[in-house]
Each structure stands twice: as structure tokens, then as C-alpha cells.
Symmetry: C2
Subunit: 432 residues, 2 copies
């Protein structure tokens, strides 16, 4: 890049689709990003911004002059506009709004008025509405005059004179219907709708369940206010699915892989801090048995095995339950069954790995009692791991804490403490 190939790069940037330019920006270290950004034609800025992930996008938008940003955001769909502006500091949003023409500003303000994560925030307002009594022929003539339909239109909406949604007409039924028939006769009555304040996770579930391409959004009075299209839902589905994985490692959802060192270090430090605390707690449990440890150094050597196995077993259960909750499989009605199942697995796991570790230790250290001690500790900890793996996320969900975020740390603390206590406690009792 630094070799004066600017013209070449600029040309290349305009020959590939915006999504690919976005991918390129996301794969570039922060330092070179603004350079690359300047090489992109300003007409192109809006399209590329739409495709960028949140973290990267906010970084770029904060460096732009408000007027330029307002230009880039012009003509954007309402839902995209809301998402863009949401990530910016209030002061910048004000500046950008002031640089917009009045119509764009009104749209932007309306979009921002719905909370993030609601149906209103992700909907578009460019719906085509029909009256029930009009004939198919008239509609087709009207659409032909209109020349263009909003992007991803698969359905037109039928409203009564109070703007209330009374039905939907798909493009396919419009095409296959006889011209003289009225809209009323081909419309689907009482269509399923999305309330404007519905949570986006629920919206995504409905889309997946019904295989929708788009769905109408209505307000509390059943008046049509917009529509949600599948392309925005796909983004939500990906984010939801990634969310669990990222939070289980203590990372933010759209964390930028190429963020600068200081920012990354700071973000990851919370998690490391929590872990230091739990590691110290485990150390304090060991500290209770200092006398035992100083007499039998072999215990120190084996002290990590039982907690480590418990941690893995517990995290397997936890991951499964968290996913089950996200998919809506785990609820109050079957949680008791699930708890007894994981208890049984924990017991079975405990027996299997207790026998195995006892044999290994008895052979390695030529100490049959030592084998018995570690076997007992393993059994206890595996049961504790299975139980906490299923009870923890259920309790956390009731307390409205995200189990993906804190579940793993709490679980590991439990399995560490129980494991060390069981192992060193039994050893103190039986071996001294």
C-alpha cells in the first residue's frame, strides 16, 4: 500500500461489491484502515458502512466529518440508518442530524425513537399498501407506473381506511390471479404480524419457524408501520449464535480482531481479573490443607487433575443447556427432568473416570489408598459438575443474568473448590 499504488487500489476498490470492501476493511489493522477508507469513493461510503461489523464501523464513523457522514447516510433504509446512528456518541448524532435534509432527519429521528433490539429498530418503512376492493388489474397497472418496488418486496399489504392491516397479498398470487378479481379475494386474511416493540430475538425465531421472507410490523392499534425483511433477520441470527460463543470466552459480540493492542488488552482484562479472583479462591482452599500438602508432596502433584476434569464435564453440560435455552428447548416444565438426567450422567461419568484415574495413580505412585482417595474426589466432583452445569444457567436466567457471560466462570469456581476440597479433605482424613 505504501508504494504509491494508490490509483491501482482505488480502481480495485470500485470493481468489487461493497460487502467485499467491508471484508477487506475488517481484515486490515486499524492503522491502515483510515488510509484505505480515504481511497474509497464517497458515493460508495454508505453501502460499505452498511456491510461493516459494529465495532469497525463505529471506529470509522467517529473519524468522519459530520457533513460527510450525513451524505453517506442519505437514502439509506430506515432500519440501517437507526443502526448506524445508534453506535455514535449523542453529540455526533446531533451534528449529523443537523447536516441532513429535513425528510432524512425525520426518518432518522423516528427510527431512533424505537429502542435498540426491538422490531421497530430493524424494520423498513417502505411498504406498499393496497385497498381490499381494488381489482388485480388496477394494482398491476399502478405498480407498472411506479416502475420500481422497494428492495426484497415479496408481499404487499392490505389496509382498511383506518390504516389497520387486514391482509397480505404475495407477488406470486398477484401474478397468478385473474385480472378482474379483487384484492379481497386473493388476500390472506388475519396474517401473522410483528408488534413494533417485539424483541428482535423473538422476531428471528418467528422468521425461522415460519420460513418467512418478510413480515408486516404493526403498532398497538394494529396500524401498519413497516416491514421486516429476511436480510436483517439473517444478521440477527448470526449475532445471536455468535453471542454465546464469544461471551463464554468473556469477549464482546462484534469484537474487532484487528483492534489496537491497548483497546484489546483493556477489554479482555475484566475476564482475566475475574479469573484471578477465582484462582485465588481455589488457592485459598488448598491453603486450608497446607499441613497435609507439606507432608505429602504427591498430593500437590495430583491436585489439578480432579478440578480440571470437573471443569470440562461441567462446561459440556453448561454449553448444552445454554444452547437449549437459546433454541427454546429448556423451560420450567422439563428442567426437573434435565436435572435428574445430568445428575445420572455426572454419576456415571464419576464412576468411569474414578476407576480410570484410580488405576493410573495406583500404578504410577504404587499407592493403593491414594488411588482410592482421588477416585472418591473424582466421583464427588463429577456429580457437582453435572448438577451445577444445569442448575446454574437455569437459576441465572431466572435472575435475568446472561448465563453465557458469567456461567462458565462461576461453574469453574465451583468445580475447582469442590474438587480441591474433596481431594485434599479425603487425603487428610485417610492418608495422614
Amino acid at each position: 500500500l505504501s508504494n504509491g499504488l494508490f490509483v491501482h487500489v482505488r480502481k480495485m476498490l470500485h470493481s468489487i461489491p461493497p460487502a467485499d470492501v467491508a471484508l477487506l476493511l475488517e481484515s486490515t489493522p486499524v492503522r491502515n484502515r483510515s488510509l484505505l477508507w480515504k481511497l474509497i469513493d464517497t458515493d460508495y461510503h454508505g453501502d460499505v458502512l452498511e456491510e461493516l461489523s459494529e465495532d469497525v464501523r463505529n471506529g470509522i464513523m467517529r473519524e468522519m466529518v459530520p457533513e460527510k457522514l450525513a451524505d453517506a447516510l442519505e437514502d439509506m433504509d430506515t432500519d440501517d440508518l437507526a443502526e448506524m446512528l445508534h453506535g455514535l456518541p449523542d453529540r455526533v448524532v446531533q451534528d449529523v442530524l443537523e447536516s441532513m435534509d429535513s425528510m432524512d432527519r425525520a426518518r432518522a429521528e423516528q427510527a431512533l425513537s424505537y429502542g435498540e433490539g426491538t422490531a421497530g429498530f430493524i424494520m423498513n418503512t417502505d411498504t406498499i399498501t393496497l385497498r381490499p376492493e381494488v381489482s388485480v388489474e388496477v394494482i398491476l397497472r399502478y405498480l407498472r407506473l411506479k416502475q420500481e418496488l422497494p428492495e426484497d418486496t415479496d408481499m404487499l399489504y392490505v389496509t382498511n381506511r383506518y390504516d389497520k392491516l387486514i391482509g397480505t397479498v404475495s407477488l406470486t398470487s398477484l401474478i397468478t390471479a385473474a385480472p378482474e378479481i379483487s384484492v379481497e379475494e386473493i388476500m390472506e386474511e388475519e396474517p401473522e404480524v410483528i408488534k413494533v416493540d417485539m424483541d428482535e430475538t423473538e422476531v428471528a425465531k418467528l422468521f425461522e419457524r415460519h420460513n418467512w421472507l418478510s413480515a408486516p410490523v404493526v403498532d398497538a392499534n394494529n396500524q401498519l408501520v413497516g416491514r421486516i425483511t429476511i436480510d436483517d433477520v439473517v444478521d440477527i441470527i448470526r449475532e445471536e449464535a455468535e453471542h454465546s460463543m464469544m461471551s463464554m470466552a468473556g469477549l464482546e459480540d462484534e469484537e474487532d480482531t484487528f483492534a489496537p493492542v491497548l483497546k484489546s488488552t483493556q477489554r479482555r482484562s475484566i475476564w482475566l481479573g475475574v479469573n484471578l479472583f477465582t484462582a485465588l479462591m481455589a488457592a485459598m482452599v488448598s491453603d486450608l490443607f497446607e499441613a497435609t500438602l507439606s507432608q505429602l508432596a504427591v498430593l500437590a502433584i495430583l491436585n489439578t487433575i480432579v478440578p480440571s476434569m470437573g471443569g470440562v464435564a461441567g462446561n459440556q453440560t453448561l454449553t448444552l443447556v445454554i444452547r437449549g435455552m437459546a433454541l427454546g428447548h429448556v423451560s420450567a416444565s422439563n428442567s426437573r427432568w434435565l436435572i435428574s438426567k445430568e445428575l445420572a450422567i455426572g454419576f456415571l461419568n464419576g464412576v468411569i473416570w474414578a476407576v480410570l484415574i484410580a488405576s493410573v495413580v495406583a500404578l504410577w505412585k504404587q499407592d493403593y489408598m491414594l488411588g482410592l482417595v482421588i477416585a472418591f474426589a473424582m466421583l464427588v466432583n463429577m456429580i457437582a459438575a453435572g448438577l451445577s452445569g444445569v442448575i446454574l444457567p437455569i437459576v441465572m436466567k431466572k435472575l435475568k443474568i446472561d448465563p453465557a457471560l458469567a456461567g462458565s466462570v462461576i461453574l469453574t469456581t465451583i468445580t475447582d473448590v469442590v474438587g480441591i476440597f474433596a481431594f485434599l479433605g479425603t487425603a487428610t482424613w485417610l492418608l495422614l
Copy 2:
């Protein structure tokens, strides 16, 4: 269920959509599932099967009589048919194919001929093709006669007389075009196509990048063989995103939360076995320092802190890199930059947590040298964690091993071994 409320349940099962019945089945312990299944009307079986997750579906299909199964699979889309049959043992597939009528059998055999995970496997064959010279009016008349279009049709395909795809016409452009215009004039020429042997992950990326609702599938000769619709792509996107999370805990993608105890225990045991092996390796490293440990019990107490911090830091980097790879951000061209970034973060993390743990330990154990020893070990292990977190997945990907599956275990082994070695080694050198 056991209280003779069968009629009531049966009624309820037919008043809710198939996706909800599927959800109900997935949330039910295996024992009650076949009972519930029998209460569902046989006409309904096919629709429900389509909505079930793989693991649950295979369980149910294996219990069905081949003739009944063939009935249920009748009239199913080609892509769904292929997916259903793929999960069954070959012998059962033969039985089912024999119970089908010849047309269904031909479709099923063709679908199965494409490998799982390719575009051919997930495509539908129900395309509507047009000739370029025909007028819009004629097309509309033809569609009106046809009465119904295949599900999720947003686009018709234009082929020449050798069946080669030469363009696409969207329903919207068909509606808005003047009737006398020819297809040629409104079609999009040289449309982007999907090759029939393309990997489904690539297909999903293309759909996401271009916000497609459907796309044509062509064979090596550019002849149209089918189309892929967004509803199938949504499933792939969810599976892909879940795959990383599940495999990082050593679980299978579509693992059934309500599988029986024995099956679950068996599936999870591989991972626990691998972990036992690595835990024993860590114990053996400690074993090298038995003499040191027997003289200083305090080392045994603190021995878990450094490995644990390294494990968390390393797993954060690993998770980030695995996601970056899945999104296509991490490649050969920027991996060197990423390695030096994570090296820097590792160093910075090392310094921060070394200072902190040194202070805690020096205060707690009133031993200033001990603080110094643990600080040094922490620094070394944090750097090792950062480096292996980024190098490991890159190397594994080159070796075509899934980093989500084995990365975490190998990483933890490295941070355990390095952490224990650095801590006990330095202690032996400085404190004895």
C-alpha cells in the same frame, strides 16, 4: 400425558404449526417422544420431520416402518428429501426408496448423488425457466394458467436452447415491465451463479454478502440444475455459528439435549478422556519438581494460578481467531500482523497480572521473593498463551484440522505445561 388425555393432546398437536410440534418433540425426553409421535396425524409427519433437528429426527425415523416413512417423505422438496435420507442407515434408505413411487424415487436418488454439504444437496429442482424472446405478456399469461408458483419464488430463470442459464428475471421486474417488452430486455444478464459442487459454507457466505433471497445453481456446463432459497441458507448459517461453540466444548453440533443418559455419557467421554490425558501430563510436569514441592508446600497452593490465567487468556485469543477465520477475516496476508499483535497483548497482560499477583502473594504469604517468582511465571505464560492462541488455529487450519474442535484442549495443555514449568522451575532455582 399418561392420564388418558390423548384426544386432547392430539387435537392440540393439529392446531399448532409443524415447527412448534417439532419444538415440542425436541423438548421432550426420548422416552416420551415416540408416544407423542404416534399421536401426530400421519399426514402431518412429513412437515414435522422437516423441522426437527438432525439428532432427534434420525431417532424418530429409525423407529418408523419404511412404508410409513416413504409416505411421509412423499411430495417433499428435493433438498429436504436428501437431508432426511442422508441420516439413515443404507439398508433403511433402500427399503424406503423401494416403497416410493418411481418419480419420487428418481428425485431422491438424484438428490443423494450430490455429496452432503454441497450446493447440489441443498438445492431445489423446481425452477421456472423462460426463453429470452418471449414477451412479458405471454409469460404472465402462462403463469396465470399455472396457478401456483414454487415456494419462495422471487426469480425466474432465462435459458437458451441448450438449457444454459443466460439471465434472471425477478418477479418485481416482471410486474413493473410493460407487457409488450421481451424477457431479453428486462433480464439481468450474466447473473451470479452457484456451482453445483460448491461447499454450503461458501453458498451461505455468498447469500450473506449479496443479501440474496434465492440463487440459481448450474452444473459444469453452465446448465441450470436447480435453485437454492434463503430458508435453507438460514439453517446453514445457524449451524455454522453454533458449530464453533459446541465443538469448543467437545460436543456435536446438533446434540440432542434430551438424549438418553447412556448415549450422552458415551458422546461426552471422548473429550473427558483427552482432558484426563492432558491433566496427567501437567501432573507429570509437577512431578519433576517433587523435591521442591515437598520442601515448600506454599508452591503447591499457588501452583494452579498461573496455568489458569494462561488458559483464560489463551482461550480468548483462540476464540477470536476462530471466529475471524469463520468470517474470512484471518488469512495468510495478515496473520503475521495478528501474531505480533497478540504477542504484544500477551506481554502487556503478562506485565499487568504479574504485578498484581506478585503484590497479592507478597502480602498474603509475606514473601517478597515468592512474589517475584510467580510474577515471572505469569509473564512467561501470558506470552505463551497469546502466541499459541493465534498460531495454533492458523497451523491447524493449514493441516485441515478443525481448530474449534481440538484447539482448546491443545492450548490448555500448552498453558498448563508452560505455566507449571515456569513457576516451579523458577522457584527451584531462586527459592531453594
